[in-house]
Symmetry: C2
Subunit: 198 residues, 2 copies
Amino acid sequence: MPKKPPPGPRDERGVLSARILAAAREEFAQHGWAGTTLRAIARGADVDPALIYHYFGSKEGLLDAATTPPARWLDSVAATWTTPPEHLGVALLRLMLGAWADAEIGPVLRAILLTAAHEESTREKLRRVVEGSLMGASRVGADEQDRRVRSGLISSQIMGLAMMRYVWRVEPVASMSEDDLVAAMAPNLQRYVDADLF
Amino acid sequence: MPKKPPPGPRDERGVLSARILAAAREEFAQHGWAGTTLRAIARGADVDPALIYHYFGSKEGLLDAATTPPARWLDSVAATWTTPPEHLGVALLRLMLGAWADAEIGPVLRAILLTAAHEESTREKLRRVVEGSLMGASRVGADEQDRRVRSGLISSQIMGLAMMRYVWRVEPVASMSEDDLVAAMAPNLQRYVDADLF
């Protein structure tokens, strides 16, 4: 169904909707689905609550938009999976470090991880993001079951790094250089990609 | 300051306080610190709110009690760190899998991870639990900095497994047997314990 044209010029819409999304990520992460009101988000974004309905339709629509990574994230994931398998450990780690450092993608990933702690539909979305980004390893594994196990192990290391470094900020992992992390961690990821595991 | 004797017989106190703690873990994890009321916890535990004050003193005291692992958890952690370094990969993984399967320890760990997503004092406690349990690796590393880096890497793998398997329940990691997990993952932990990383 086509949406009504936005009020005001196009770039104003972009600015306002980015502000609403940033405020929404903060509120949903802090207070969960049930504890978050559109009024509080409107206050955080300094906009009229009616504008949130106008742009996103509903609280559900807003949560969905706030936790959906931009399309170019999917592009970079797809590009990473074309890496020759023997370099996938490094490539997956660089993909993840780059995504978190990205001003558009990082906050979305953070919102997903924080909100997934207490909101089942976001937990479901997290599973889809993990499956879609870290488990699309069609070139990994001898068969479907092997591929799924290897992708799950890769995910467990990547997501653990994300929680320690970006969400909980536990030192020294939070402050290690990207190069040090790649040196220390990529061989472990590579083992999950192609070593004999069992 | 000595506490007043509990109302009712000793085992009744144990039963009621365990029920209050279980309800508190659920509420704090779901609704965060600000969104949780002692009244809701009392309702969940089917007790009078006054009893919560009587047992735990305050909302702060209750959160603290709900997210403090039992003392025997610290004992098993200390015992694990006496394992010969060349077996630490397996030992740490078994420690963690055993703790999550434990009816008393598992719910506390879960409450810490879920509540840490949106409550700073619990995030601080998580850092202390990680440092105290996974980073007490005095026999690991060539010096203090090396020990901290290795412990951080070990933690990132262990905590990632915990999130994937027990909190987000992403398959197939959530359902893999403990033996399969040990076979697949312990060599990676062992590399963080004693291999050349940089």
